[in-house]
Symmetry: D2
Subunit: 139 residues, 4 copies
């Protein structure tokens, strides 16, 4: 961690009031923390857009475990991408449905590819790639 | 406009460096302006999520003017929602395709409804509602 | 326009019922049109992600015309990018605020660049780039 | 599961060609599966927009475990929302950073609230709520 710096920003008092109301409702303890979060959110987007460097993300899939051979297929696929997939959590949503979340770490394009592959499997009802960060650029 | 206020935020120096590089690439003259924009973006989202109050937005549709009766239908629809639609611009993209942008102003749910109606018309190839603001909450 | 083709898809009857309820509420006349729209939406996303080829988009900005010199600056900027900007519509939202929508046509990266430049200007309260298409890939 | 139905859609042959190229690149085995996924994606969005019924989602947070007391605070918060949080997976990204994914199940507004609370904690560098489904409406 590098050293802390401090800078000031000037803005209309009423804009600040309105922003403060929102972040209070969201549970922020301080305004600085809310603004640092907005800045970090921008850094994460940029990293994914550039398509280089290392990112982290999560892939969420929902499926019915009654689909024949689906479990095996998903396991095989995940092994094929084992260098990207850090770990997987499985939740039994109800009698029929499973939710699986995979944490991926690697290049943005490869993370998109594995999300595409898993989402496109027949029997996978919903798939989403969530973009986040390894934290190193967020400090 | 209410009076200007100034406040400070403290953060890691390297986080600031990275943020500064991004906003420089985007053309921001000052860091304060970039942060005010992030704050305003959050205010706009909240206003649309609450579903009340007055918002502004734009509806972008792309269509082929060769589709029979489409021009008339779009005009009729827009008149049915004339209390929401401030004005419309039409662009001839090429020999076949038109792009129309409508500026809407009113309640969020009504703005969504008119976007849904226009987007769902046969012959409209693409439709998008863009959320923005009347500016009053952004100052 | 190439010739019409027809293909069938099979799915669970209840999934279809639920989808039909949503598209009815949105005003679709037929299911085919709703599905064609979902397919086109995917094509538009892909085109922008690839970063090549020609796209169309709209840039929406909201600003206060009281900001000194802002009108001139925005006009200058738009002229600098005149090869990308097809036309611009200006709406007087209230006594203070203006909304401007620009239709842009060109390469995805250039469209992003002009949106960044306009959004980052001091006095521009909110800016959004909306991704759409020249229509040629949507048919 | 209800019975399978089959319906046809007609569209321009070239639109179909372009769509087919994209879904092949994404790894879909059949066109039907790709279209069912687009339909389900729409159902998930609607359910979250309506704000009622039961949804599933994942909350992804990235933080530095060096922040004093952060682990305890996150654990306390998660217990306060234990009726919403099904389970949590923790990944050690590097020497400093942790990624945590929580699976939540419940009302959309409550799921948003817990995501807001966790994201706003000082020391949490990035937080994202991913909208998905319990699967029951997706079949």
């Amino acid at each position: 961690m590098s050293s802390l710096v401090r800078f000031g920003i000037s803005l209309d008092g009423e804009l600040l009031d309105r922003f403060d109301r929102i972040i209070k409702a969201k549970g922020y303890a301080t305004r600085s923390e809310a603004i640092r979060d907005l800045m970090r959110e921008k850094l994460v987007e940029e990293r994914w857009e550039q398509g280089t460097g290392e990112v982290a993300g999560t892939i969420t899939i929902v499926y019915s475990h009654h689909t024949n051979g689906l479990g095996d297929l998903l396991t095989d696929l995940q092994h094929a991408y084992h260098h990207l997939i850090v770990s997987t959590m499985h939740v039994h949503l109800d009698h029929d449905h499973c939710l699986e979340v995979l944490v991926v770490k690697g290049r943005p394009d490869e993370a998109r590819a594995v999300a595409d592959r898993l989402t496109s499997v027949k029997g996978v009802l919903h798939g989403r790639l969530t973009l986040t960060s390894t934290g190193t650029e967020l400090l």
